[in-house]
């Protein structure tokens, strides 16, 4: 500790513009860590019960990630190379809220995805579909004051994977949300409406609550389309909201 150190109690008492705790989520809000239909969970889930963590200042704070660090084209995946990527150009936009409906401003949204043929620009993706020299598949942006974000990209293709015989992933875009606190951190996937692969995909179906699965499906949004340019999907995201004031009870 240096002479700048201040007495710990005071730091905590001064937390004012952010929740001092986050609501505990219902058990079926997220997929189980042990989910046999998704084979890779077998050796990668803890078998011991999780230990209850009373949320402290470490969990209710979070980093200022992305501020002043993003490039102008970071949210346009169709303009990151010399030429245009092949595929169906789409705008994906939406708002980030907490579960109380409060918009979350200034939070980092990161996405990554396969190209129109369902191929990722990654050394480990070896299935025989073409790479697109004009598509990397990564984007990022900060939400504005209304919690709004927007990406321009191309619609990713579905692709086969090795989970079981003739396994296919529905088309999806990976989303990473920092939220405004460690407790709000979320990584998810956005799906497209009406995908015929839904019923066969153990990752999508690992969410046991049908309303939860519905939450992960974007909506076609005619009002967001850009005439003569791009189709549009809306994907609103809900991160856990504030809980009761923790330490007074």
């Amino acid at each position: 500790m240096t002479e700048q150190a201040i007495e710990p109690r005071r730091i905590y008492a001064a937390v004012t513009d952010t929740p001092t705790s986050y609501a505990r989520e219902p058990p079926d809000a997220h997929p189980p860590l042990d989910y046999p239909p998704y084979k890779s969970t077998a050796l990668r889930h803890p078998k011991q019960p999780l230990v209850y963590l009373p949320q402290t200042i470490t969990e209710v704070t979070g980093p200022r990630l992305g501020e002043g660090e993003l490039g102008e084209l970071d949210n346009d995946l169709t303009r990151q190379h010399e030429g245009e990527p092949i595929g169906e150009r789409i705008v994906v936009s939406g708002r980030v809220f907490d579960t109380e409906g409060k918009p979350l401003a200034g939070t980092l949204v990161e996405i990554w995805q396969a190209n129109a043929a369902g191929r990722y620009l990654h050394r480990w993706d070896r299935w025989p579909a073409p790479l697109d020299p004009n598509f990397s598949g990564a984007g990022r942006c900060l939400t504005d004051a209304d919690g709004r974000y927007q990406f321009t990209t191309i619609k990713p293709g579905p692709y086969p994977w090795g989970n079981h015989y003739n396994a296919w992933r529905p088309a999806h875009i990976h989303f990473s949300l920092m939220g405004r606190a460690f407790a709000q951190r979320l990584v998810t996937q956005m799906y497209f409406p009406g995908d015929p692969f839904f019923e066969y995909d153990p990752i999508f179906n690992s969410v046991r609550d049908p309303r939860g699965r519905e939450r992960m499906i974007a909506a076609f949004e005619i009002h967001e389309t850009v005439p003569s340019w791009a189709a549009a999907y809306r994907f609103d995201i809900y991160l856990r909201g504030p809980g009761p004031t923790p330490f007074e009870a």
Partner: protein, 187 residues
């Protein structure tokens, strides 16, 4: 709760397209005074390294202050301190290494003080939701003994949360499963 939360999904094997960045593993600038390395390996239930893990770290500075996005009256004064690190690579071998400073104690519930610790989120293919653990420091015996969170952990499992001092920093391995399974928390 008015709205149901958006459910978690796995990061899958290809997150390296989008999530890592060059300075990601630096919670503090490399030349920061008292910079240390924390390194280790993530193992699965068969004892094999997990090559496609993504780890995130969040912590206070040595004075117990956070580089937080909110105004809590006492943000970190340490120049170049981000307090956050992200480690994930395209061609992983299960190991990780971050550069940071050792955090100071911070307040806990009630009148308690928490021992120096770092919150860690573990993501990987095969993990449908993140797992959260904490790094404590094996050389903080006294502070650890008074820590309100460690007190909730069965005594025989506490050692899984202790980073061991090594030259230049600390070593901390993570076992997702198995006899040495790391303690994970419900946040």
């Amino acid at each position: 709760m008015i709205f149901s939360p958006t459910p978690s999904q796995t990061v899958g094997p290809y997150f390296a397209i989008g999530l890592p960045w060059e300075l990601g593993p630096l919670a503090v600038t490399r030349d920061a005074p008292a910079a240390i390395r924390i390194a280790g390996t993530v193992y699965d239930g068969a004892g094999e390294p997990v090559p496609d893990h993504l780890l995130e770290f969040w912590q206070a500075d040595p004075d117990g202050r956070f580089a937080d996005m909110h105004d809590h009256g006492g943000p970190s004064q340490l120049r170049g301190f981000r307090g956050f690190a992200r480690y994930g690579v395209e061609d992983g071998d299960g190991s990780f290494e971050i550069v940071t400073v050792k955090p100071g104690p911070v307040p806990g519930p009630g009148d308690t003080t928490q021992a120096p610790h770092i919150d860690v989120s573990v993501f990987a293919r095969g993990m449908l939701h993140r797992c959260v653990t904490r790094i404590y420091f094996a050389d903080e015996t006294e502070a650890n003994a008074a820590d309100p969170v460690l007190a909730r952990v069965p005594a025989e499992r506490r050692a899984t949360l202790l980073a061991e001092p090594v030259a230049g920093g600390y070593r901390f391995d993570i076992h997702l499963q198995g006899p040495d399974e790391t303690v994970f928390f419900a946040v």
